[in-house]
Structures are given as C-alpha cells and as structure tokens.
Symmetry: C2
C-alpha cells in the first residue's frame, strides 16, 4: 500500500487535465507544448504513468483516450502542502506561512478569510509551539 506520489513533471500534466477537464491526449499535448518543449512521446509517457498511478482514468472512444482526473485539484494541492509542512520543524512553520502570505498573490476575499481564521485560531492557540526536530528536544 505504498502511497503513490506525483512527480514534478507529472504535476504539470495533471494541472492541464484539471484545467481542461475531460480531455484527449492531443489536447493535453497541444496545451503543454505551448509552454514547454516536451516531445509528444514524453507527454504520452507522463499520461500513462499518471494512469498507472491512478491519478487519471480514461474513457475510450474508438482508439482514442479521454482522461479524467481522479483527484480534485484543490484537494491535491492541500495534501501536497500539508505533507510538505510535515517535514518542517513545527516551531518554524508559522514563519513559513507568513512568508507565503507575503510572497503570494492573493485575492482580497482569501486574505479576509485568512485574517478571520487567524483571529479565531489565535484565541485558543498555545503560547508557543515546540521544535520537533529531535526526539527529545528543542532547537533554538
């Protein structure tokens, strides 16, 4: 039951499928070649691997495939992000979030949600979060 992961190149392909919705190999290739110089074969390989890993399913019409994403894009993004954070020192995660909020382009409504959420969570938040980098102890 090894958790399948999406590689970097595969992620690019998935984004196209998520965005186009149900689409053919040809559509994926044409769209991707607009922003990369991957050969047709390369993209076909990536699509195949995503099917093998069950991130995509297909429907056939004649000899052609139509792909559908199995996972929802937002869900995949969130999971990827949470997983990445799980490899970070707990004590320093807040600062990384701050950096992201500073760096990323965000809509007013998302920022307002964030503001509200942070406000609410702050009311029951611990004074500090300990470093979990060592079995025992604290860093810094």
């Amino acid at each position: 039951m090894t958790e399948k992961t999406v590689s970097g190149a595969e992620w690019s392909v998935l984004r196209i499928v998520w965005t186009l919705g149900s689409c053919t190999t040809r559509e994926v290739i044409d769209t991707l070649q607009n922003e990369s110089d991957w050969k047709d074969s390369t993209i076909k390989t990536l699509l195949k691997r995503l099917c093998d890993k069950e991130f995509l399913t297909t429907t056939k019409q004649g000899r052609q495939f139509t792909y559908q994403a199995v996972v929802n894009e937002q869900t995949a993004m969130n999971q990827t992000a949470v997983t990445m954070f799980s490899h970070f020192c707990a004590m320093k995660q807040g600062q990384t979030l701050i950096e992201l909020i500073e760096q990323e382009k965000l809509s007013r409504s998302d920022l307002q949600k964030i503001e509200k959420l942070a406000h609410v969570r702050a009311m029951t938040a611990p004074e500090q979060v300990d470093c979990n980098c060592l079995p025992d102890g604290t860093c810094d």
Copy 2:
C-alpha cells in the same frame, strides 16, 4: 548551473544538523537512529551527498568531520514552500493557505502576525487572482 535540490531523506539529515548545530557524523547518526532505522552507511551517504551539493560544509579534526549547514533552516523552509506554491494554480493558492492555517499547530503570536499581515495585505489586494494553469485562460 542546475539548481541543486534536497531530497526527502536528505531533508531529514539536514534537520538534524540544523538543530544540533555544528556536529560530527557520529552525533548525526546517533540522533537519526533514534527515530529511524537507517544504517550508519546510509546516513554517511546522505551526509556525503549533502556536502557534494554544498548544503553542508565540513571542518576536519584528526580524521573526523564536523558538519555545518550552509543554508539557514528557516530560509530553506521558506524557499521550499515558495517553490512548491509556484507549481500550484495561482487562483487556488489562497485556499491552500487557509487549509494550512487550519491544520498546522501554530503559536498565538504567529497567528496574530498572520492576522495583521492578512489585514494589511487585504487593503491593496486584487478582487480576484486569475488561474494561470493555461497559457491563455481561466479554469473554473
């Protein structure tokens, strides 16, 4: 000038070095074996690779190495996070941040900083952020 990357296993080793500060191979091995079942050789290999990639430098005393991290932990975390976000649909990044703020254990003071920052940024934020998944267009 290919950007060197830190693999998952290497990240675990780096965390130890960041936390212990200047430390010997033996200290890294003992610490890591407390939480994993990697063999000595495995850890030595990872340390070597991190030196090759110049994420660590060494000082020698006698035949022994002492390692120092070249990059700052917080900086590395932030960069990793920003890079990851750059592979995400711009329109949906806000929601991922919200998810992280919901999921992660955060200190009151970090949450307060986030609240304040979001408030300030909201004042000049765009009404919406467009999807950048396709060369041209919008998803959803």
